[in-house]
Structure formats: C-alpha cells, structure tokens
Symmetry: C2
Subunit: 193 residues, 2 copies
DNA sequence: AACTAAAAATGAACTGGTTCAAGTCTGCGG
DNA sequence: CCGCAGACTTGAACCAGTTCATTTTTAGTT
C-alpha cells in the first residue's frame, strides 16, 4: 500500500472520475535527498508537497542565527511555507528533507484552477485549511497551557513516530526551547519513571 | 455604511442572487452586552460570529487561573472558538464582548449546507480558512522572532485601533506576558521617545 | 574497524520575565 | 462630587529556561 495524494483526498471527499483524472494530471512526482531543500527563503513557495515516503521539517532562521521549527511532516502529510504559498510571496521558511524522501507536488495555479472546476476539490481544500487552522490555534494554546516539560511529554505521546525519527535539536526548536534544556528534561522525566 | 456579513463576503467573491439570498436566510442578528459571553467552555461553539459593531476577545483560562487571550475582533472581523466550531466539540475558550456590540451569526450546519449548494460560498470559506491558517502560522513565528517588547511595538503598529480599545491586561495576555511586565515595557519604550 | 564530524549530555553562571505585595490612578453609580 | 472598585504602576525577590564551554555518544565514510 503506497501513499498517494489521490488516495489521501478520496479518504475525505468523493472525487468523481474527471476530478481524480484532472488531479492526476497536475501531480509531479519527485525524489528528494536528505538535507535537500524544497523551499527556501526569498523564493515563492509555488507548490504544496505531499510526503509519500520520508520526512521533512519546515523552519525559520531568525536574525540571531537560531533555527525555529514550525512543522514536521512524515508519510501522508502535507508541508509547505503556507503563508508564502497562499499569497504567492517570497518564503521565509526553509523546508528540508530529514531523510531521502519521495513526494508528490501540486502547483498553486493548477490547484486554484481545479478548485474552480471541481466543487469536490474546493471542498477538500477548505476542510484541510480549516483543520490546519484549528490545529495551529491549538498549538498556540498549548504553549500557554503547558510548561516545556509537559509540552515535550505531550508531543511524545501524540506523535511518537515523529519524536523517534527527528533530530533532537529540531524537536527542541519546535518546542521552543534550547537543545540543552530538552536534554535536561529528558533526563529528569526518564529517571523518575 | 453599515457592516454586514454579505458585503464582507461580496468584497472577496462573487455571489449570485440565490447564494446571497440563501445566506441572508441563515443570518441571525444579535445584540450582545459588554461582558456577556457568546462562547463558553463546555458548550460546543455552534456559530461563527461576524462583528458589526463593538469588540470581542477570545481567551483561555488555564488550570492556574490565568487568562490567555487568543484573538481579538472588532468591526468586520469574525470570531469563534474555531477548533470547537469545526469539530463541533465542546469549546475550551471564552469569547466575551469588550463593549456593547452588534453581531451577525451563522450556524455550523447551515454553513455546511450552503457550502454544498453554492460553490462560491465554499470558495469563500476556503479562502478565509487559508488566510486564517497563514496568519496563525505567522503568529507562531513572530513569537520566535521577537522579544516581548518588539511584539508589543509590532502589535501597536499593526493594530492601533485594537491597542487603543482593549484593556491592558487582555493585551498582555495576548502577547504572552504578565500585565506588570507590559507596564514596564510601556514605561521604557515611551521614555526613550 | 578506525576516523571523523556532528549530535547529545552536562554543569555553572546568567537573564528575561514572573510573582507578590503595596501603592496610585481613573471612571462611573449613588 | 464623593466614594470605591477595577485597572494600571512600581519595586524586590525569585525562577524557568538560556548561554557558554567542555565532554561523551552516535552515525556516516573510507
């Protein structure tokens, strides 16, 4: 069973024959090597990327040179610099492969065209955006609700596959703490088990 | 010129006669008194609320009893507990009127029905969700990029109408700092002007 | 299997922001 | 126009998390 973007969408909405044919028509399959970037600051993020195999992280580098991870993506997830994608403005994020990966990409203008012709696709992308927004809000809340240690334990529980596959400095920067402090948290929380 | 939800939508997408008539049909006009809640934890957030007049804030109360503001809304903005609205699950937020206000509300199931019958409305709500998500991501980023003082100055510059109308403890909790510290920031940043 | 470079762990000194407690200002109800 | 409650200010003690410098572990390459 191989992950594909069409299956992913079919799981959530009904696509008729034309819609799924048209969608197939705009898909671009691509292999991406570990450490390779699919989005870089300064260039508009022209595509949404669906991960078939492998993993990615999206991160920001601030003026002081530190990295801040915004999003991880593994099999069956989408990733992009969404702000850049939606407004077709230069990206501010890096999106980098954490492993050798296989992806399917769809281009902004193609997606917009298909959304006009197929109500079902417009519906799908509405659902995606709404859920993404809801989770993004929840993430802001969870930073208010939890201390660093709780956030780590929560992440570990909710996304064990990701926690296991991702470099620790990347996870620290996702949790909003320094790698040193994440190290301490791990020590404290495992010794008390 | 009075704010209405139909005008708001027309500014972004073309609604034909039936679509705007059907939309009018599900609108509920409502007056809300200062300090009144339109969303409360425990109850599902059944409506999206469009602000015609007045202002609102959405906030979370954490276990330790402190408030954390997630969103403000003034004229021509929408507000809700979006996670609760989308999944029709019990809300975790309070949404409270900061002033006597007038709103237009649309109910979840009605919106979903209209999105099915009118592609244009589905399109509108996709755009809204996408922009909301993009801004939500940006907000997460801005907490990484800026220190508390910069966040305050940025907010003040970007939303001067809101900064002026909103109680200071609410703004502090939006910025993720204590009211005392916001007070200090203001002192420091005005004395150096 | 040995070599290397990057990643993770550790500890000590430090800082941005919190907490608590007390004082001041403001607006509006009687 | 007085009183009083809620909102804002101030300062001192404190703490969660950072920074920096060093050591240990891990993983990729020849």
């Amino acid at each position: 069973m191989k992950y594909t973007i069409v299956d992913h969408i079919q799981r959530q909405v009904d696509l008729n024959a034309e819609a799924s044919r048209d969608l197939e028509g705009i898909l671009v399959n691509r292999l991406v090597r570990k450490r390779q970037f699919i989005v870089q600051p300064g260039f508009a993020c022209t595509h949404q990327t669906y991960v078939q195999k492998g993993s990615f992280r999206g991160y920001l580098v601030t003026a002081d040179g530190t990295e801040h991870t915004v999003q991880f993506a593994i099999e069956d997830w989408f990733i992009s610099d969404f702000h850049s994608y939606i407004f077709q403005e230069p990206a501010t994020l890096f999106v980098e492969a954490l492993e050798d990966s296989a992806v399917q990409q769809i281009e902004y203008s193609h997606v917009e065209t298909l959304c006009k012709t197929h109500h079902s696709l417009e519906h799908f992308f509405r659902l995606v955006a709404q859920k993404s927004f809801a989770f993004s809000q929840k993430r802001i809340l969870s930073n208010f609700e939890m201390q660093a240690e709780e956030r780590f334990l929560f992440f570990k529980k909710q996304y064990p596959q990701i926690e296991a596959r991702v470099p620790q400095y990347a996870l620290a920067s996702y949790l909003g703490i320094s790698p040193e402090f994440l190290s301490k948290i791990k020590r404290n929380s495992t010794q008390s088990t």
